[in-house]
Each structure stands twice: as C-alpha cells, then as structure tokens.
Symmetry: D3
Subunit: 293 residues, 6 copies
C-alpha cells in the first residue's frame, strides 16, 4: 500500500545505502558561539525541504546525482549549552564516517563545527590542505575570551596544520591583526574580496589532499541574506560556481568538506536556502565524481 506515499527524509538523489556510498552528507545544527544573528541550527532541515525545487542534473558539470553514490544520513544528535561537549560529538560523528573510508560532507551549523570535523579528517590525512571560502578571516586568537569560536576556527586549524597549508578566498572583514597574520606574515594564503586566484591555487595543489570549507557568507548578501553576519561586497553566485568545474577538472583529492552558516529564518524568500542547496548539489557531484578518478 505504502507505495502510493512518499516521505521526504533525505536530500533527493542522495539515497544510496550508507554501506555502498562514497560520500556521506550529514547535518550539524550547532550555533552556540554565534555572536550575531543565530539560527544556523535550522540549515539542514530547511535545505531538505527546498532541495526538491532543483533538478538532480547539473548542466554546468554534466553530472547527475542519480549516478553518484551519495548518502544523506540525517542530522547528528547534539547536546545543548556546552560548546566543548558538542565539539566532541561532532568529532566522533565525523570520525565514524572517515573510519569507514567515506568522504564526510557536513552541513553546518556555524563555522566552529568545521574544527572537530576537520580534526577527524586530519587525524587520518595529516598531509591535508585547507581551501577556505569566507567573508571573514576567522583568524582571531580568541574571541570573547573564547579560544573555540566561529571567529577563531581557522586559527585553530592553523594550530594543527601550520604555515603554507591554508588558502583563504573572498575574505573582506576582520581585525587589522588578522589581516596582518595572513597578508604580511604569510601564515595563510589570503585573497581579499575575490576568488579569482582559485584556479591557480588548485593547479598548484595537484594530487594533494584537500579539505574544503565554505562559509556561505562569502557570497554577496544580495543573493545570500540568510546568514548570521552578512557582509556586503561578496562574490556573486555566478562567480562562485566557477569553482565546481575547476575542482572537477583537477586532480586534487577531496577528503572532506563542509557548507556552513546558512541561517534560513533570516530570509523569508528562501533564496538563501535554495542557493545553499544548489551549492550542495554541485559540490556533492564533484566530490563523488573525483572520488572515483
């Protein structure tokens, strides 16, 4: 009887059984250190609804979700109120995927969720490089007396990987100290405001392992108002989508990635959510495609 009915419980086209999957998508609804507008906790559930307005086929990439082994396993169950406990839970959840030799693809949540997910990947792939899209530097040593914060997350990752391993794109907000850390002292590679050097960087990283983290506020607030701290002057969707083809055509090895900082309730038009969905589709296609190269 039940075949007349369907239940929306996974991202459309990401219904491969876990054991057969190459890429594992999961949501992490943590926004506990958000200092401005909260609400990224609702990102994955709002995305699962809006994903149905998209096709499974990407004309830009000429790839189709229906031919890829991608599994949406739902949302990680999290504690509330103590950041350190939550970071542990995210670490364990990601680790279980990494240990099964699958690529973890996390949907945040605020940007701090990248730290434990990255750590789980890094422990397996200590030679990993980080590609980072963001409006904000996220390079503070601490923020609000806190070492672990959405505003310090890349600095914490630098603590792990050190110099010459982090590449930042689209950055346009931060303190002078943060910009000096990147631009003067060269601890990271940083392209300010734009993402034009991405192709060149990718070429320089051929055959390297890559963790890719996308803070969606790298996009201009005209297309992406639904985020905690919108920062005018970002990249357009059209500029941004160029990265997917570059990645598809490259030989870099994507060993983990995430999309963070969608706060859906701040955009009643739902365009922010839809944009996050399209980025999810394109990136998941690329990750699954490259996995089998």
């Amino acid at each position: 009887m039940q075949n007349r009915f369907s239940n929306i419980n996974t991202f459309m086209g990401m219904e491969t059984p876990y054991d057969e999957s190459d890429v594992v998508v999961f949501g992490v609804g943590f926004d506990g250190t958000t200092s401005n507008r909260p609400g990224t906790r609702f990102a994955s559930s709002s995305m699962r609804l809006e994903f149905y307005g998209l096709e499974t086929y990407s004309p830009k990439l000429n790839l189709d979700l229906e031919n890829k082994k991608i599994c949406d396993i739902g949302d990680l169950e999290l504690s509330i109120g103590n950041t350190d406990v939550v970071l542990g839970e995210i670490y364990e959840g990601t680790k279980s995927i990494v240990n099964d030799d699958k690529i973890p693809f996390m949907i945040g949540g605020e940007h701090l969720v990248t730290l434990p997910a990255f750590k789980a990947v890094y422990e397996k792939h200590s030679d990993v490089y980080v590609l980072h899209f963001d409006a904000h530097t996220d390079l503070r040593e601490e923020y609000n007396n806190n070492k672990n914060s959405h505003a310090t997350v890349i600095k914490r990752i630098w603590d792990l990987v050190g110099d010459n391993r982090i590449y930042q794109f689209g950055i346009r907000s931060g303190t002078k100290e943060e910009f000096d850390f990147a631009l003067k002292e060269k601890h990271t590679y940083m392209e300010v405001s734009t993402i034009d050097t991405f192709e060149e960087v990718v070429k320089s990283l051929e055959n390297k392992k890559i963790y890719l983290t996308i803070d969606l506020d790298v996009l201009d607030p005209s297309i992406f108002p639904g985020t905690g701290t919108p920062e005018p002057g970002g990249v357009t969707y059209k500029e941004f989508e160029s990265i997917f083809k570059i990645l598809k055509n490259s030989n870099i090895k994507l060993v983990g990635c995430d999309i963070v900082e969608l706060s859906p309730d701040y955009d009643d038009t739902k365009v922010s959510t839809i944009t996050a969905c399209k980025i999810l589709r394109e990136l998941a296609l690329v990750v699954a495609h490259n996995f089998n190269k």
Copy 2:
C-alpha cells in the same frame, strides 16, 4: 554508526509501523481549486518540521502519543493540473487505509480533498455523520462553473449523505443562498460564528460513526493568518480546544478525519503551522484513544 544520527521523516511520536497502527496520518498537498491565496500544498511538510517544538504529552487530555498506535506514512503522490485525476488518487489512497481497518487521518491541502477521502470512508460506513468546522459554508452548488471545488465540498458530501447528517460549526461567510440552505431549509445543522453547541450535538450522536473535517480557518485569523481566505471573527484556540475533551469523553466512533487549509508561507511567524500541529496532536490522541474503547 548511524545511531548518532536521526532523520526527521515522520511526525514525532507517530512512528508505529503501519501494520500495527490504529490511526494512519498522511498528507495530501492539493490546492488546485483554491480561488484566493494558494499554498496549502506545503502544509504537511511544514508541519513535520514544526511538530518538534511540541511535547508528545497533552495535559488537557492526559494522553501521550508515545502510548498510542499512530503511523505517519508521509505524503500521497499526486498528479498536477487536472482536479478529477487528483480526486481519484486521494480516493484510492484513503481507500487502501480504510480497507486495512485503520482510521485515515488526512492533512490537506485545500478543503476539496475531503470529498474523495470522505467518499472512501462512506463506502465502508454508509451510516456516517459529518462534523464540520469552518469559517465558510462550502455549500455552493457550483463555483466558478465547477461542481468540485473547495467552495462546494460540503454540498457534494450532502449529495451523498442527504439531510440530518451534517453538522456545521463556526460558519461566518457565504452567500445568502447557502445560509438559507442550512438555516431556513434545515438541510444541515449550522451554528453560526461559534461552536458552543458542539457538546450538545456530540451527545445527540452517541454511538454513531463520525467523520470529522476541520477547515482551520474556523479559527480567528489572529491565531491563524496562514490560510487562503482568512475571515475575521473566528473562534480562539482556547475555545476550539474544548472539542477534544468532549470527543474523548464521548462514545462517538471516529471513522475518519482531516485537517485542511493551512497555507504555511502566509505566516512567517510559523504560529499558524504550530497551531495546526497542536490540533493534529490533540485530535490524533483522541482518535487513537477512542479507537480502543
């Protein structure tokens, strides 16, 4: 591994396997004859998200979903663009549940969806009575040259069951002809604007079989703006919730029910959706409770 993750795919607390269930909840996202603001197609999916803000326990009823055998089987898959075809699909879907001796509990959709669902119930229980909550009479003979419409649905049901079988509550909008049909010619029982006689009516129907249809616009637009045609002067939630205890304490036999006309995108506060969820919880508890009397 997957036990760290959870996937939101059914109404919380309505996860009994189909075969073991007494009550079967399903969504029907049809709004094809809506003449004013459309969007009831999104009712069930928005409700599944917001349902998580409620408890499974009802203090009014002293009943808990966790002790009831209720199954959410998701949404019925529908065609688009031809009303008659869709009505057939709803009829078949409901029939399959009725044939399994379970109580169908439908979430609309516009009010026309009640017609095929009721018909499936009526074919099994030809002695069924109809309790109808609504702001609008829905007694037109035809609307916009259409015999099957949200504005004619109760008239079509009357075509099936005839006089002395339909009880209408909260009605406050319609043409003079419609009000005359009920109030002068007494083809239906109609209480205008209020629902105060509901208890008395229920008493008069002891041991009878009942189909209950709730057009949520019976509520005042102050609490329920998210509907196609809000009509000021409705009942408050507090007034409305009295019906659940009356039903629980009665001996009427609920053989089918529905909740229709939530159009969630017209209320960005989501209070309309939350209100629909609470009505769903209370009514599902009562239906499941009475099923085993």
Copy 3:
C-alpha cells in the same frame, strides 16, 4: 471583446454610479503627521485588492452589498508635504459629496484626515454627534508643537462641537491630562479599554445625527498589527462587530463616517487589511441600510 476581461478598480459590490448612490466611499492616503510607523497612505489601494476574498453578503446583518446603492469613487488626489494644504483638499473633496446629499465614507490615512472630513459634514449638520473608536485619546491640545495632528484630532473636533457631543470607546493610551479632560472634567464621554456601553449610548442618541470615526487600532494588535502604533489590550473583532447590528437596529442617522489608521505594509499576512475590509463591508451595509429608513 472586452467582456472577457475585468478590471479591478472599485471595491467589489460598490459599483453604483455616483449620481444614483446613497453612500460614497473614497480613499485619502495622507500620513503626514504620523509620529511612529508611517504607511497609511497605502490603506485604500491594498484594501481594494483584498476585498475580493470577502463575500458581498453579511450573515450577521443579513444584508448584501449587491442590493445597496454604494459608490467607490477612488482616491482623493493630494498634495504632499504641507499639512494645511492637504487638509483643505480633503475638506473640499468631502464637501462636494455632502453637497450632493450623499453620505461620505472615508478610508484614511492617518486619523487627522477626520478633521476636515468632519468639518465638511458639520457645516451641513451642526447638530451632529461623534462616535469615536480608538486605542488613543487623541485629545492633546498640541503635539510636537502642532495643533493639527493625529494626536490632537478629537480635541480639534471638540473645539467645534463642545461638550456632550463626543463619545469615545476602547481608549487605553494617552497622557494623564487627556484622561483627566475626559474622565474627570467630562468634556467627552469616554469608555476605557472596552466598548460595552456602546449599545446604551446609541440608545440615548436615538434620532440624532451621527458622525462615526473608527481608528482601527481600537482592535487588539493580535488581529490588527498593521497600524502605526499598535497598543495591546484592545477589543477582539468579535467584540467589535457587535456594533454593526446595534447600529442597524437603531434609529440614529449616520451622516458621515470613516475608517482610519490601517498601515498595510506592517502586516505581511494581510490579515489587518482583510479585517479593515470586513469592517468596511459591514459599516457600508449599515450606512446604506439606515439611509433609507
């Protein structure tokens, strides 16, 4: 050919030619002295759109717009930026209707528009009484160095008519001086917060001429958030609609009326606009009905 097409240009059911009409509805989109949230300038145009969700028949009154001689003549063209000039324009516009022996029914705009409209009526009917619904006293002597303001409008009308002629209902906000003017010094009759004495007042005014002015913020913000200065603790729509039957059953002579202070863009659900429409329908029915008593 054109009979296939219809153009929404008047309130549905208010299409009697001007010369044959008893009641003349017109919009006045002035909000130049609004001190809080502006936007009442858009009230009449938003109401013309939403009016189509209502029926022409009122079950409460058992009256139908289709049997009444009501004419919607559109919006008065106004200057911008100088309050005195605009007041003159409203005065002239209303006067032209009064001179044609028709009842002017104005849709504001902010409450100050009542002053010139009332003045035009008062010059013909110097024995007129004023029934006033509002959340605010509007009895300041001046506001922001201004004698003519939405906050002084009833005081200006009192300047014209004097004591024992103004009846205020639902009032719940003002300065101590304003409340003393009414409650202690008895210059006006004032019922605080509620409207329960309306029937009694109407009875005491049998056969008198009445100007009725409704500041829609008399309603509770739960049903009417779309106004410049919402004030919690108002009357519900259901309480408010009782006045229409009281008026219909009375022998008072309505010589002019207005509905003011809908600011539609502050309520995206459009329920405020719909509520204003229903009040317009009920009141226009009563005015037209009583006109021919």
Copy 4:
C-alpha cells in the same frame, strides 16, 4: 466632482482606448500546473499597484509611455481547476486581440499560459519565430503525467513550429534529456546561463515575425526572488535590460509577447514586482515603437 478623485485601474500611461491602441496589455492569473511555489495568479494586480513608483519615461530607450498607444484591458476572467478549460479561455481572449490587428502583451501567470496565447498568434502568423528567456528548459515531453505543464510549454510550442524556430537564452536548469534535445540534437537554439548572443540572434532574424516570451526567473534570484522556482546563477537586471535597445534598433516584427512567473507574495520587499514592472515598461515601449516602424 469626480475630477478630484482618481482610480487606479490600469497601468499608468497605458490608458489609450482599446480601439485606438496598437498594443493591448492583459493579465492572466493562472498557476494551476505550478509544481513548486504557487501565486503567480496575483502578478498583474500587484504590478498595477507598484507601477506607480516608476516614471513613464525610459532614459535607456528615450521613449515615453505617454506618446504610445497602449491599452491595459485588465485581467482575463478564468475558470479554476481544469487546465484544459483555462487554456481555451486564454486562447479565445488572445485571439480576440489578434483578430483586431493589435499586439497582445500578456502578463502571466505561470509559463503554461504562453501556449494558448502563442497558438492564437501562430494561427495568424504561421511564420513566427520564438525568443525565449528562462532559467529552465521547459522542454520536457511530459511532466507529472501531463503534456500541458509549465515544464513542457516550449516543447509544445516546438510541436507546432518545429526546428530552427525557437531561440532560448539564460537556460540553466533541466534534465539531461532536455539539454540534449537542444544542445546535441539542435532542435532549438540554446544559450546556457547567459544572454550574450541575443544581439547576434536578433540580427539574424531581421524582418522576421517574433513572439517573445520572458520567464522572469531568467533573472538572478538576488533581484528576483518572487517566483515559483528561483534558480541561482541568472542574469542581472543590467545585463537583461540590454535586450530592449537591441530590439528597438532592430527590424524584427514583434507580433506578441508575454512576461510570466512573477509570484509577488514570495518577496515582501516588492522588488520582484517592481522589476517586473520596469521590464513591462521597457518592453511595451519597444513593442509600441516598432509597431509603427
């Protein structure tokens, strides 16, 4: 008296009497096959309100509505619930305009409304070419078991006109089959994502008859969120407006056109509606201008 009042009932500057008009604008509020977010039924009425924020003069085109013979005849009255019946009504309405040797300019509604309007034009001008702007291919053979759908409309037009007659611009979403139909099998000319070849195409069509259909979701959702299925990566308004000058400077003969898929209630800022209005103004100026070449 009435000259003090004005009634907003036509697009400002489009008030030429029907018989004297060259171009006839009309609304068609049909959204019956919309599979995602409905609401295009409200497009024309919301546009008539917002049009007043624009000037009648276009500095880009150096043309003024006040010098053109354009008539807004309002909205076509439609049935509800049966797609085939509605398509017939649109066909008849358009045909009546075509038969009067005027150019029909339709405001949708969903994209399926283009099919009957085009058919009426095609029967008079069987040598007509189609210029099509859209985010979506609309080339499915059927959708949801339906041959007539917003997702199949261009395929249905291709059924009529065949190869080498349809030119598509801005397309960025569809199934692989649809893209293959256009890009591999060359049944239509398709420019993916961008509209840069429009000028070249127009040049190649000198002196040809053209039907122009604009699905407004060709625009990027940053400027046009108010549509049923927003698709990131579209053209900016500035890119899009270049087409008007190209058309003005060409010798193609516009024999019909439409603007579809504005769903105004999904954009509370009203920018989507305002953008549709500006496109209406520019295109109506061009059509009227070219009519008299």
Copy 5:
C-alpha cells in the same frame, strides 16, 4: 549645541541616575540553551527602540514613569559559548544591584537567566516566594543531558527554595512527569492554562517577599508570536494585564523580577516587542510604586 540632538540609549522615562534609583532595569541577551528558535539575545535592544511608541503614563494603574525612580543601566556584557561562565556573570551583575539595595528588573534572554538572577536575590532574601508565569512547566530534572537549561530552570529554583514557595500560572505544556510533580505531588502550586487564581494567591502572600518571573510565552501566540516556542492556548493581553492592578493593590514586597523569552526577529510586525514593552512599563511602575509603600 548638543541640546538639539537626543540619543536613544535608555528606556524612555527610566533615566533616573543609578544612585538615586529604586528599580534598576538591565538586559541579559543570553540564549545559549534555547532548544527551538533562538534570538532572545536581541530582546532588550529591540525593546528600547519600540518603547518610544508607548506613553509614560498608564491609565490602568494611574501611574507615570516620570514620577518613578527607575534606571535603565543597559545590557550586561556576557561571554559566549559556555553556559556556566555566563550564569556566573549574570549572578554577579544582579548581585551588585541587590547589594546596593535596589530592585533588579531583568530583561532576558531565555528563561535560564532567571536562575542566577534569582540566586542573587535569594541570598539576600532567603524567605522569598516565586510567582511564575509561563506556557511551559520548566520542571524537568535535566534536559538534553543538561541540569541547567531553559527547560529545568524552575526545578533548579525549587532545589533552592523547596516546597510551598513556587506558584505557577498559565502552564499548558510539559511532560507527564512535570505535571505530576506539581499537580499530584504538590511540590509547586500550578494553575493550568489560565491565571484566574492569581489574585487569591497574591492575597495569601500578603507581606511576603516575592520574586516575579514572566516567561512571555504565557501569552497566546496570537498576540505574542515572537518567542522561541509558541504554544497555542495562552492568555490574552487583557487577561494578563489584570495582574498589575492586583499587585499594585497588594502588600506583597517585590524584591526582584524579570521578563524573558521575547525573540523579536520572529515577529516582523513588532507587536511581540511592543507587548513586551507595555508589560515592562506596567510592571516597572508597580515595582517602583510598591517599593515606597
């Protein structure tokens, strides 16, 4: 020069210097354990803006802020991300006010902020009673593995004060265990759904010290949608405002109070914020009035 300019930095009418004040109002923007919709962090700043639409005079109470010694000292600066640290900061901030023999009046923030504020009051007034308005019981022993949470706050206060000291009103949501704790085991006094016994309770507490905590979701979502977990079936504003006169006429000693759980961004009409403001005005008037009895 600067006297031409004014800066909105305190609640209007609450500008007494700190040292001369009886009542000290302060904001605490913590929402770190919120499990549903976050955003109460913005409550106090949005309230300072909207407060200007109110008068300083309360006609219900016949009291005026201008005659009371109330000081708004702004918002407490808080850490982010670790609940225990924040609770300490709130405790210290409140303690400093209590130690100066002033009445602390806190604006939350989520309900957990009441715990440290109450503790600071309790340490000075160990014989204090608690009056609690809420939709939710807040009596869980732990929530999400957390002893300190918005859902456990009243249980934590009970841990301090024990039986017969806590009075709960308006409660309508919780687990069966929580209701049993109150209604069966009588550890607290609980009135379900309504607040009708408030006057009686206040009378029974004559001359007692009282801490009053108002979770604004005690109000019905029709008037107060802007909160984290709206629960239909609450009290109206008119019902609620009766408590202010009861308190004013009583001899209870208010030694501390708070208003919590306004999440302003979930109500774009701003009515929720305005309602919170009016409650703040009424309650601050009563507290200041009773202080000098």
Copy 6:
C-alpha cells in the same frame, strides 16, 4: 558597578567627545515629502543596532575607526507635519556643527534633508562642489505643486550653486525634461546608470571643497531593497565601494556629506541597513582621514 553593563547609544567606534571630534555624525529622521514608500525616519536608529555586526577596521582602506576622531551625537529632534519648519531645524542643527569647524555627516531621512544641510555648509564654503549619487535625477522644478521635495532637491541646490558645480552618478530614472536639463543643456554633469567616471571627476576636482550626498538607491535593489523607490539596474556594492579608495587617495576636501533614503522596515533581512552601515563606516573613515591631510 556599572562597568559590567554597556549601553548601545552611539555608533560603535564613534565615541570621541564632541569637542575633540573632527567629524560629527547625526541622524535626521524626516520623510515628510516621500511620495512612495515612507519610513526613512527609522534609518539612523536601525543602523545603530546593526552597526555592531561590522568590524571597526576597513581592510579596503586600511583604516580603523578606533584611530579616528568621530562623534555620533544622536538624532536631531524634529517637528512633524510642516516641511518648512523641519528644514529650518535641520539647517540650524547642521550650522551649529559647521560653526564649530567640524565636518557634518548626516544620516537621512529622505533626500530633501540634504537641502538645508547643504545650505549650512554652503554659507561657509560658497566655493563648494557637489558629488551626487542617486538612481533619480532629483532635478524637477517642482513636484506635486511643491518646490521643496525629495524629487527637486538637486534642482534647489543648483539654484544656489549654478552650472558646473554638480556631478551626478548612477542616475537612471526621471522625466525627459530632467535628463535634458543635465545631458543636453549641461547644467549638471550626469553619468547615466554607472559610476565609472567618478575617478576622473575626482581628479579634475583636486583641492576643491566637496559636499558628497549619497542617495542609497543608487545601489541595485538586489542589495538595497529597503528604500522608498527601488529602481532596478543600479550599481553593485562592489562597484560602489571603489569610490572610497578614490576619495582617500585624492586631495579633495570633504566639507560635508550625507547618506539618505534607507527605509529599513521594507527589508526584513536587514541587509539594506547593514549595507548602509558599511557605507557609513567607509565614508566616515575617509572623511576623518582626509580631514587631517
């Protein structure tokens, strides 16, 4: 004690005491001649709230507010209802700042506020040039029978300064007469739609005194919907922000400036307000920087 608390009362980083400041920021909430959507009265207060999401450091300019002498003195207190009176108040307020040899930096309000502010500057610096960014010409001789209006403000300034002193950028809407005044008769320099010649113009004005007025609707409505009359086809934020570096690198002397026409309530995402804040930061940095050259 109070050092635990902070009160948001000035733009963050603009807290230099008035007497020590170089640049004085103030709000002017006048929107009395707005012909379309009102609400610019709320611009400065909404900006003070959202400013906290920005950093004080500008990476584009490598300047930090913390090193600049800027003072936010709050909002000018204004009368309501009579435009001429208000213009006098703005004139006096600005004059007091100019007389103290500080640079006035005004936040509107509608564009008419520029007239009195400019006049105060012009009386001291009669050799001043005007740089004007806008979507609209603002060159009408009168509007709605009004010489002083948001639509005439640049014409009124031209009345004062005459030919060759006004430079307009981004203009894309107006009557034919207005465009002829600028483009044919060359009374002003006007760049249509774009701002590409700004650098060249600035170079040609080396060492000149400049008043800079920015109507924020020069930006495209995709990034700036929150304004009275959005006009599609504007400049992106990224294009616009180029002017700040050009100004910083130039030797022009900024003697006054303003940012006008943010109407915050028309953009619930708050991106319009945030964008205005970023422009305020960048421009204030440049003005303060150049002041001490």
